[in-house]
């Protein structure tokens, strides 16, 4: 059974009077357990909309989304999900340790287990020496790292990451990449959205390409590269978008 699934998931935003923008257009996506799945697309393609719909912070205009067979509003299901938002902001008045403690308590994790887990995670993301520093003084990179630690506090089965390498330097990117592969090998399902194609190319097993809310193509990276005769992901990306734009022009009507 697919661990993450969307069925004709649609989101139409109303802006002002009688003006609408299609955020997501009948998205049908299936992600299997254990995959490292990347959703790609230019800005405004619907990547974040898709993630927000899956996480329940936005409500769909039509269609359905399921995580582990449950709706996005299911509290039980959220026990097994970890989320890292784009441009993470956290409570400035807390220290890194307090933040992890706060989130950890919301997961019903045993206090002793939680304390150990926090030490482990802080070490993993390289922030064990900044325990007493409040988040107000963190750099962007540090915030990303504490955010990653926070998303792993509950040892989630599913990890959803929105632009996880934004603002990271190359070393930070490499570390994140390695961590993601490590987590995937440990059996976790990872769904990430990104427009850093080089990063996605190196880690994802399957991808989906979105453009203007429409799913252009989805599948295993090497199979798609073959199909579109692309040398790399960037090439694939451009080719699929060009193909779509051509189709629109010839058919004269957008979905």
């Amino acid at each position: 059974m697919a661990i993450i699934q969307t069925k004709d998931l649609t989101k139409i935003y109303t802006i002002g009077r009688n003006k609408t923008v299609v955020g997501l257009n009948h998205l049908n996506l299936t992600i299997e357990e254990g995959e490292l799945f990347g959703i790609l697309g230019p800005n405004g393609s619907g990547k974040t909309t898709c993630l927000k719909l899956l996480l329940g912070t936005l409500f769909p205009t039509s269609g359905e989304a399921y995580i582990m067979g449950k709706t996005p509003y299911d509290v039980e299901m959220k026990q097994h999900v970890g989320f890292l938002p784009e441009n993470p902001y956290y409570y400035e008045y807390l220290t890194g340790k307090e933040l992890l403690l706060f989130y950890g308590k919301l997961f019903d994790i045993d206090k002793e287990v939680l304390k150990e887990k926090i030490e482990e995670l802080l070490k993993l993301v390289g922030l064990e020496n900044t325990k007493k520093l409040s988040l107000r003084h963190y750099s962007k990179g540090m915030l990303e790292r504490i955010g990653l630690a926070a998303s792993l506090i509950n040892d989630p089965k599913i990890l959803i990451l929105d632009e996880p390498t934004t603002g990271l330097d190359p070393i930070g990117c490499r570390d994140t990449r390695n961590l993601l592969i490590q987590l995937k090998d440990a059996g976790k399902t990872i769904l990430l959205s990104s427009h850093f194609l080089s990063e996605v190319e190196r880690v994802c097993t399957r991808i989906a390409i979105l453009h203007k809310g429409v799913l252009l193509t989805t599948g295993k990276l090497d199979e798609l590269m073959d199909k579109y005769k692309s040398v790399n992901l960037e090439d694939l990306f451009i080719k699929t978008i060009d193909e779509y734009e051509e189709k629109i022009q010839t058919q004269g009507v957008a979905q």
């Binding site: 329940g56 509290v75 999900v81 993470p88 902001y89 409570y91 008045y93 997961f107 955010g147």
Partner: protein, 254 residues
Amino acid sequence: MKKTWILAWNTVRESFRKKTTYIIILFALIMIAASEFFAFLSAQEQTKMIMDTSFAVIEFFGFLLAMFGSITAVSSEIEKRTIYTLLTKPITRTNFILGKYLGMFFILLINFVIMTIFFLLLIHFKKIPINIAIFKTLFLIFMELLVIASISLALATFTSDAFNIIASCFLYIIGHLTSYGRQVIEMTKNIVIKGLADMMYTILPNYQNFSIRDKVVVGIPVPWQYVLIVTGYGIMYIVIALLIGIYFFRTREI
């Protein structure tokens, strides 16, 4: 329920790590102490002025704390986007609202107790007798603050900060005048206006119910029955406000 407490505790912690809370309290304590300046009056007059000023200061600064506290509790999470991470945790949106309100309850309680202790020390120092009527007054002021907090919190779930501040201040003023409005309306002969006015009278928070200090300070006794009924009113209003807040928050897209 446990998660509501965790969220509440986080709200309290946020409030006490912010400078604004301390500034408001400091101002309140200074103003209570300022009633010392009535020393040139006779003892009886001084007592009245100290009591009047202190009650009014506690209520007014309490109002500021309740309003700004509730507004920031919700809007700072949304503006700072910490709400995204929070809502993806295994909590319901109802947990969030109740947690914030419970947090506000404790914030108000702690600040209220500080102001009350200071006030009681002052009147004890001035050899003014401390009687049960004073505690009844303080209790009802606290209930009023809880109602104010619930309304500001509910408004914060679907309005902007600016609108919320204006609306909360407006309701604060109107809420103290509702019984006057009722007296004026009673003189009207028009049934439609009367009906509408009656409806408004019920819907708007009647803060005047909680205001017994003008009576207590001049020695009019307030029976426990009155205090109890008004407390019931306060609790019912808080429930309504929180339900409205929960409704709007659950339908809100973030």
